[in-house]
Every structure is written in C-alpha cells, then in structure tokens.
Symmetry: C2
Subunit: 765 residues, 2 copies
Amino acid sequence: MSWIITETRQLDEKASDRLGNKFLVGNGYIGYRGTLEEHAKERKTATIAAGLYDQAGEGLWREPVNLPNGGFLELVYQGRPLRAHAGPVEEHSQSLDLRHAVHERMTVFTAEDGNRITLRAKRFVSATRRHLFCAQYVVETSRDCELIIHTGIDGDVWDLNGPHLRDFITAVDDPLISISARTGEKGIPVSVCEYFVCPGRNHVFLTEERRILREFLLQTRAGQPYTLVKFAAIHTGVDTPDPPAAGRSLCWEAIRTGFDALLKDHRQYWEARWTDCDLQILGDSRAQLALRFSLYHLLAIAPVETDTVSIPARGLSGQVYKGGIFWDTEIFMLPFFAHEFPEIARNLLMYRFRTLEGARRKAREYGYRGAFYAWESQDTGDDACTLYNITDIHTGRPMRTYFRDKQIHISADIPYAIGEYFSITGDDSLLLEGGAEVVYECARFFLSYLHYSPDRKQYEFLDVTGPDEYHERVHNNAYTNWMAAHTFALCLRVAAHLQKHHPAPAKALLQKLGFRKDLEAIRKTVRKIYQPAADPRTSVIPQFDGYLQLEDPPLAELLRLRSDPREYLGGGNGLASNTQILKQADVILALCLFPERFARETVSANWEYYEPRTEQGSSLSACSYSIAAAGIGKLAEAYEFFMTAASLDLDGDPKQYVGPLYIGGTHPAASGGAWMAAVSGLCGIRWSGKLLTIDPRLPAPWSEVRLPLLIRGDRLQIVITRKDVTLRPMQPLQHKVRVRIRRKVRTLPRQGTLTVEYGAPEWRS
Amino acid sequence: MSWIITETRQLDEKASDRLGNKFLVGNGYIGYRGTLEEHAKERKTATIAAGLYDQAGEGLWREPVNLPNGGFLELVYQGRPLRAHAGPVEEHSQSLDLRHAVHERMTVFTAEDGNRITLRAKRFVSATRRHLFCAQYVVETSRDCELIIHTGIDGDVWDLNGPHLRDFITAVDDPLISISARTGEKGIPVSVCEYFVCPGRNHVFLTEERRILREFLLQTRAGQPYTLVKFAAIHTGVDTPDPPAAGRSLCWEAIRTGFDALLKDHRQYWEARWTDCDLQILGDSRAQLALRFSLYHLLAIAPVETDTVSIPARGLSGQVYKGGIFWDTEIFMLPFFAHEFPEIARNLLMYRFRTLEGARRKAREYGYRGAFYAWESQDTGDDACTLYNITDIHTGRPMRTYFRDKQIHISADIPYAIGEYFSITGDDSLLLEGGAEVVYECARFFLSYLHYSPDRKQYEFLDVTGPDEYHERVHNNAYTNWMAAHTFALCLRVAAHLQKHHPAPAKALLQKLGFRKDLEAIRKTVRKIYQPAADPRTSVIPQFDGYLQLEDPPLAELLRLRSDPREYLGGGNGLASNTQILKQADVILALCLFPERFARETVSANWEYYEPRTEQGSSLSACSYSIAAAGIGKLAEAYEFFMTAASLDLDGDPKQYVGPLYIGGTHPAASGGAWMAAVSGLCGIRWSGKLLTIDPRLPAPWSEVRLPLLIRGDRLQIVITRKDVTLRPMQPLQHKVRVRIRRKVRTLPRQGTLTVEYGAPEWRS
C-alpha cells in the first residue's frame, strides 16, 4: 500500500543522524526528530517549535531553540541501560506510518542472562492539539524480572550555536513534572510538562539542573505486555502568555481524553489531509512511497493555524541553516500548497507580509528602498544570514560569502509566489491584506537596485548572486533579471487588478506607500530590462555576463581537485567559482518558471549544456532538471531526477557538511520539488491562470496517476492513464475551466467527467 | 658630496638579490643588474633590453628576456674560483657613482697560501652608445703567481618563466666572441658580442651550448696591477635587423674609441643630465643621497631614444611583474620627467599611443568600446596580467585576482598624465600626434563602462578595483570615479583646444574615430558622475560604497592573523579584503592628484583616518602620504614618508615575495614618488597650468633646496631657503609665469631673479 517506511539498519551515529530526519514527526507547530526513546543530545534529539529563535551571544548566529525533550524513556535492566545503538539487540526496527503520522519502534534487547526485553513505542505529535506529544510504550520480557524505567524531560539538549535556555526550573506537580526555562536573548518563557502512567511502583523523581526524570520499578511476568503512556505538552511564550500553566492544562486535557481517543482524532485528521492531496501512482510502488514520503514531510511542517511562521529550509528537523525561511518555500513548496491546501499557501505568504518591516530594514541597511527580503528569514524578517556563512577548510577561517548581500532574487521569488497563488486560487484577498504591499515594495527595491547602461540602452542588475551560489557577484544573472522583470510586470498587473476591482483600497495603498511615482517609473522601465536571451546559434542562455567565457573543466575533473570532500566549491577562491561548474539549476529553473516563453529547442539546448556542468550540490536542483527533461522528451532523466528529489531524505545521500559545518536535516524543498516534478513534469500539468494544459509523459512503469487539484477553488480529480486523461470536478464547478490536451482546448463540464485520449506526448510530434 | 653609494655587507643570497637591484647600471635601453663579475644565474645576474618580451609556452606568462651575460669574469687561483660570496675575503666593496652611472667593485681575496688577490672592476652601460656594455678590471696579487681568468658570455640565465632563448650559436671571430640566439615565441634574434683585452697569454676558448668563455693565464708579479678591458655589444631584432653584425660593428667601434674615451663620453652625458635635474638638499646628506639615488634609477631606465617602450614597474632590473608597464609610470614617474626631461615624458606617453590598439582589443574583449589599457602592458599593449596573478599559500592554487579586469582607473591615469604633460610643457603636438586619440578612446571606454542609477540620479562606476588592490570589485571607488570624471572633463578640454587651435586635424580626428556622438554624450554625462564627497560630519571620504561599514581591526592585529609573512592579504578570502585595512594610498592619492579641490581640513581628516589603516604594502603609497602630510603640517610624517620612498631600494625592506612568487627588483615609482614628495610635498611647489604656487614646508634639517624646473619650456632655477624663495629663469622667459607665494601672486621677471620671503608655511596661518 506504500504508506509505511521501515528501517532496520544498524544504528551508527551517521545513520542515526539521518534517521532522525527521515522519521521526524511533526504537526506544523512541533517537529520531533525520529531519534529513539533512549537517545539524548549526542544522537541529535530535538524538539523544535516553529517560530521560536534565540541568539546565544554576540558573534553567534540566531537559530531555533531546541526545547527540552519530553519524549525521553530508557529501560534499565540489571543496572545496565538498554540502548538500541549500543546493543546487543536481537531485533530492531523503526517505522513511520505516513498516512497517520505515527512513529513506531520495536527493539528486542538481549540481556547477558538471556532475558529478552522488548520495547515497542508509538509516538505522534497531535495534529488536533498541536502542543501535544503523545506516546505509548509496550514492554515485555521473556523472563520474570525487575525492570527500571527512566522517563521524563531531558533539558540537556543538542545545539549548534547554543545554549539557548537559562533559568531552568524543574517542577513536580504529581502526576505532572515539568521543565520551564527562558531563552537567553529575549527571555521568552518555554515549558515542557509531562505526564506518564506506568503500572510500575516506587516511582522516584530524579532531578538535575536541566533534567527531571521519574524512575519506576516494573516487576514483569514473562510474556506479559505492560503498557505505559506519556503525554508531553510543549509551549513557548511566542504562542502562550503562561507556558507552564498552558502545559499543565493541556496535560490534564490529554489525561481526560486518553491516548486512544487522541490517536483517533490525529489519524482522522491525517486521513482527511491525504484525501485532499494524495497523488496516486499506480504501477510503481517505489515512486509512490517516495512521493508520499515527500508530501508527508511537507504536511508535517506546514503552518496550519498561524500565518506568522513559514517553512524553514530544513523544516522543523533541527537548527540547521538557522531555522531560516529561504526562497525554497515560495519557489519549491508553494505550488503544492497552492494547488492542494490554499489556506496553508496563504499562511506562508502572509508570513512575508508579517515580516515586511524586516525586509524594509534590510533594504535600508544596504542603501536601497522597498523590501529586500532576508536570505534566511526568522521571526522578524531581519536577515539571519551571516556575512561569513561558510568556514574555509584550508585555513579554518570564516569565509566571506555574498548570500545575504547579493541574492536579491529572493525579492522576486516572493512576488512570483504571490502571483502564482493568485493565479491558482483566484483569491485576491491576499493581495488586499498585504500581498500587494509586498509586491509593490519588492518592485520598488528592484527599481532602486537597477542601473541603466546608456551604451547598451538597457536596465541591468549588476553584482548579484543567482540561485547557483558558486558564482557570486555576477552581472545580469538570467534568472535574477527575468524574475525582477516579472516582479515589475506583476506589480503593474496587481495595480491594474486592484484599481479595477477594489479601487478604494487600491488608492489607499498607493497613497500609504507613496507609490504612484514608482509605479510610473516601473511602467517605463519594465520593457527595457535586459533579459538574457538564447544565443541564436546555440540556443544556450548564458547564466550571467561572461559565463560562457569561463573555464570549462569536466565536473569530475574539478571534483578531483578538492583537498577534502567537504571542501566548499564556491566563495572567493572556490574551485568552481571561476569555471562553468554550477552548484544547482539556475537557467534551467528559470525555464521551468516561465514555461510559456521558451521553445522546446531552447529548453533542450540549455538542458544539454547545463546538465553536465551542474554539481547538483543543492537539494533544490533535481526537480528543475526533471521538469525540463520531461518537457523535452528525456523521460528516463525526468524520472531519475524526480526520484532523486522524492527520495532525498528517504534513502538519498544529501550533503551533511559544508566545510566543518553540519547542514543535515530534512529537505522540504526537495519534497515540494518532487511534487512539482510529478505534476508539472511527468504528468505535464500546467495552469497558466486561464488555461489548464495537460500533456502527460508518464514514465514507463506508471500505469495510471490520480491526483486531486484545486483550481480557483474548484477541486478536480485528474486521472491519467497511459492513453487518456479524465477530469472530474469533485463538486459542481464554480468557475469555467478550460483544458488543453493534445493542442485542443475544451471547456470542462460543470459536473460529470471529461475524458480525452492523448496518445504520445506532444514533444514527439 | 652625496653621489656615491657603497656596500660592504656580507653577500648572502638575500642581500645579493637586493644589491643586484640597488647597484643596477642602465641607460634606458639596457639594464644590467648590480651583481658581481663572477656571478651566474643563481645570483640573479640579468641583462634586460627594454621592449623585448617572450612567452616560453602555453600557460606561462610573457616576460622580458634575460639576455646572455656578457659581463661574466672570474679569477681562478690554484684551481679554485674566487668568489666574493664564497669567501674567504679580506675586503670587499661595491659602489655606484650616481653622478656618472659607473659601478665599481673591489675585493681582496685571501688564498690558502696567504696570497692576497685584488680584483677591481668598473662597469657602465654607455649612455652615448646604448647597446654597449663597458668594463675595466685591475688585478693585483700580493705574491708572484699564476692566475687564470675566465671571461666571456654566459647564456645560461636566470628566468622566472623561461627559458626564452633557443637556437644558440656560440661563435669565435677573434678578437670577438659572440652568442646569438632566438626568442622562443616570435623567433626574434638576439646577440651578445664580446671583446676582451688581457695581458695574459695562452688564451683558450671554452664553449658550451649556452656559454662561451675565454681562458687567460696571467703570470703576475707581486704588487703589480694588470688592467683588462671588456666591451660587450647587446642587440636584439626589436631594434636591429641583424644583431650579430651590429654587435661586431659596435665592438669594433668601441675598440677604436677605447675605454677611456667611452667613459669620458658617458660621464659627460650623465653630468649634463644631472645639471638639468639635480635637486640639491643642503643640510641633509642622507636625504640628498636617497633622492639622488632615486633620480639615478629613473634616469638609468628612461627611454631616451625611442617612444615604443616605457618604464616597467620594476624598471630594467629583471623579469618581475612581467616587465609590465603599469600606471606607475604615468602617475608616479611622469611628473619628474615632465618637469625635467619633457622629451622623455613625451616618449613615455607616445608609448601609450603606440599601444592603443592593444587597449582597444582589451576593451572589446570585455565588451566595452574605446581603450581599456592593460594593467601590465608590454610591447603590443595587450594585457600581460593573468587572471590568476597570485598563488594562494594555503592551497598552492592560483588565486583569481581582478587586477586585469577591474583596475579600470588605468584608462584614466594615462589621460591624466597626458593632461599634466600638456599643462606642464605647453606642448600640444603630443595631442595632435596621438595624445588626443588616447584621451578620446579612454573617455569612450568609460562611457561604455558607466551605469546610471535612476534612483540616485547619477552615473556610477560599478565593479572596479581602485589603487588599493586589497579591495577588489567595489562600487564607486572614489579614486576611480574622480579620475574617470577627470578623463571626461579633459576630453572636452582637449576637444575644445584642438577645435580652437587646430580645427582641421580636430575635425579629422573626430571623423576618424566617429567620436562626435560620444563627445556629446560625455558633455551630458560629465556633470552627473558620482564623485564621492567628504562626509559633512567627519570629512572622511569613503574609499568606495560601503567601505566605512567594513570591519575595522587595527592593522597590527590583522597582520598577526597571517599564517605566513608572505600571505597575500587581498583576493577572494584575504584577511584584509573585508576590512578597512588598505594596501596603499587610494583616497589619499586622489587628494594629491586634485589638490585644488579639497580643503585642508578634508585632507587632514582623511590622512588621520586612512594612515593607520594603510599597510603601505605598495611602493606607490609612501609618496602620497608624504605629500598629503606636508600639506597639513605633519612635517615629521611628510619627511619620514619621503625618506621611505626615496630609500626603498637603497636601504629599505621592500616585499620580496607575494605568496611563493618573487617580486623583487627596483621600484622606480617609489623613486618618482620621492621626487614628487620632495617637490610637491616638502617644497610645496605646484603648477596648476596657469599658476606656480610655492608654499615651502622644508623639514628641520634642510637649510636650502635648489632645483631646476621646466614650465612650458622655460627653465627656472628655484632656490628655497628657510626664509625665502628665489626664482631665476635660466634663459629669458618665453612665456609669462605667474607665481603665488604666501597668497600673493606675482609675475616672474623675464630675466633676473625674484626673491620672496615666505615665513611660516601657509597651513600654520
């Protein structure tokens, strides 16, 4: 059925780092890493609450706070703690039910005396009570024996740039125990409150400064299962005025409701989510599992109940990349949400409006106007990205990078996503409630950034870094120029739309922002923006000015020059910096974002040119190569890149280090990219704002694909077989939907189904 | 009398590298390093002919050709060669008579048997026969003995990126011997032809592939001096169609003329040169010697008879910096020549016209119009500077530098010098014969380089490297912007001048270059060029956009971070690159070049700000700090920086390595800078084109300064005592000269003298 992932591998530290990501449970508020019950900070346990950040001191970067671990539980037999990674273990498995977001583990420990002690544990972070962690344990021994159970809250946490908590208070309020503390920088209170029920006796409280445990003595009978239950309530001052009180109250609610009822609620919620978004792939269970795994991870970290946070680049899997929200969210995750859960897409975009002041501050800091969004955005929208974002492995010195200063495309990526959201959902309330202001301020930023070359008679964007971070501080990066031009065009469209449909707020906004003159300037500028075009001879679009004149070594040869596999290839003296070797899709991504602009020949020429030169050193890259490959008939490559994106955290091998810095975690942008590759790439589905195009290119093993898709509020069920496409509105259509299959445009019936045979993909014709 | 420099130091290799520079003899065509007679390539012997370059192969840079050494001579006693650096030596000295450009050495070797063998050698490269090397040796022994003399031509030469010569032919045409060869790249023939006269007998020819020596057996009587004479004629295909024939013919001419007559001609020539330019400092023999040493080195390498070469950054002292001509010549050497030897200044500038095509090619290569002059210019004007001009000591990898790409100020430095030449000499024939074309093409280059910021309503120069090479790829470098704006202004002035005084050639030139439209554009642009101004609060002028926001560590602290004293501080990941630490004067230099623009307070504020932040890592830097210091009353500092510039190659400690690369050699820009510091700085002499200002700030020990100065063809003798200034035209004035001393402007009498008391320097008032 392709819903369960299981892992029985040996648990060395590196594997356990990865499993912590792979088996993460989350509910959009809490991310709880898929470590084992007995793990502590050495194994990178983490409980991350969305939106809580702290800076541990001058010179250290701000990052998410790893909260005390309420899920700790350890069995002790004959004075020896039982730990799966330390063995001896007869059997061990970890699994995750993607459909219900429930993690299970089972380990049979073998003691020296031959006693076999089995621990089964089940955990979830509740989707219906988002501050609640729930777990159930079943313990069984093969002999009558005495087992000690240590369980409670472990506040001695793993940190990259910590410690973040101070003023610890461990408290016992039987049957509850708790740890409260405050963040170092802003003194935000946090609390984890735990309830545990055990048939054991003699329970004792063990408290240290940052840890509070209960010790139970469980007298077991051979072959008799004993069930234990734990609830842990997790609160921070970001969401709750009095976290300890809220924790106690939630624990009592959980006690009253009971584990089974809580699990039932949780399962129902998740089943409903899947009904709305499950993309079924018939005939290819590996692809099916990988894609579901990807969507699971998106659903597990997406903010449902708030629009003050967005999805960080490493989701809620830890502190990596400072818990920063990057362009990943808008470009690689938003399409999925806009088409399946527009309310989440809206939250993600409203987060950008909530952090607009931070973007304005950043623009001012650099001497520009408007909104220069953070490369790594946290709670305030100020940029968490440091100027020295990488450590040079040769010298151990911080290396100056220009991610923060020069990746100005972030201020075009966000408007692009706002445009997509509006186009897909038809919902202009986002524009009225902040979206238009974001678009205007981003356009204004570009207006203040650009320069006119009187000699070339065009506006240019100089000194930027495009998506390919190995080439910093380039001129006229194609992606950046196109996207900035798109921001201008969108700005004009939004202004026209508001003027027509909401004249009063439209006027008020222009007035509030003093934007009329800028709008005029944008109108005059937009047509003269230099948008690098394909070379008429080769059809190759240069990634930036002079790119094609750079050295052009084969990728493998360049990689051989590294002194260390962790060596960063970009930066001031990077091995790739002065060559045509790319970290990730740049031009190819742009081709995917503006599909209507480029002839198939152009896409083809650029794919062939850039693919061998791309290190695929970013998890964002594969999906673009997949989508573009699908569009030009490279089906095997399209499939392979899709699988790369979808399987990255499942069984892939993503980079764990850049220089000496740990960068592991989940890769939600790859997950979102996998959905894009499946839908836009392999299924060939594209919504232009007016027309739904379906040009399927199903890979060989796929006999059928079924997916639900929301278009302007109308939910369609789309079924693609190897010969036809069937569309069925789930409710009577509210809007007219025009569909283009095999060059013929049809209007979807308000109810009922439309089936169209498509034959070979269009690119074959 | 402060004319002789002497050195008796131990000759370890490092010392000998320096002495090779310090004791160089030259005549503008040949530079012959101040090594000893017995030295070979290990001790960096070199014979450099101006204008001859060769590239030894793909991937190696082009550099001057080190010609076979015709000055080789070695004594052998009892089977042991006598080498001063290998000892034992009882007495040793090397000296250089700056006034006559004659090098002498004296060594008393002590043999194991107690015999003391004295070698005195005298050498010069003739100023009246520029292809001729002349030497005279006197040998004396304290006992009767048998001495072997090896002398001849050593073609096994020191090379940085060689070998450059192939097809060696060693020939004997008694009494002449010769080595002929061809350069590798272009097959240019070279020849060294030698004549030697010795009272010894049994002379034998020893030939190897690249060496031809004669062996003489000299039977000496105790205490009896024996005199030997050598002539070596040096020719290359650059100047002579048949170098071997020219060599033979010149040797025969030398033989006929005789050593004494040749020396007499040579000495007379040099005495006349000194009459024209000697700046006498009374009361400070140390300063006097250092300045004469500096002027000697300028005179020894200045092209007198050709305008197809200019002065390389390391003069004729070897192959360092590829024998490239940098902006050093125009900015730091030209003022001396324009005021003392305008015909040499003219040659230097005509060289830029001769290489204009190379500059045009470089502009086209980078997508610009006009003339983008080479950062390191050789015979064709194409840029010899490599993209990877430094080796990273941490990785041993070539480091990408942007000297070649981004130091666009070179195309403003040359026009600046042309403007100065015209202003100082009043000679507009240079403009008509190529100078105007250079200025126009440089202005055109800047026109094609600049960008307009609609937001800031100004033209900007983005992505440039200013004089301070530690900060590459900056925006709006103050020096660059001011200089480019000056190029525009000069371009308009030149156009107006030609239009008025030479309408026909003016029109023809505009037509030939198709320059009318550009001229119009320049007229419109010039006033809107952003010229970074002093902060009204602090009076500090930011070196470039964002400079003042960079990290600001104390220089000493930064230097302590180096892993190796040879570590380069700039480049991609340089320690200084992201700090306010400068390599060399940048804003301060600009203040010196535009003295009329800035109030004393501004100069003062910037001097105080930048001086502690300047590493003085370039030999170009000290003179600017001296001139600026003199103008703001920091006399001690002005003097100290003057002495630093003047003494650099005399007894200074200039950098010998950047990374693993040898960069030693002479520093003619420091020599030129020393003259500027003495004249513009300490004497306070400034010619604006209309007015001669003299505002003396003589340092304490200087009782009087006397200097000749040419202004528009009128030679003045200026005498500055501690109380007054006396001006005396050497011939009746051809032009009216107005002089400003102590704020009062006077007109110089056509004949006779003018004496004005000046009292305290103006900045005290």
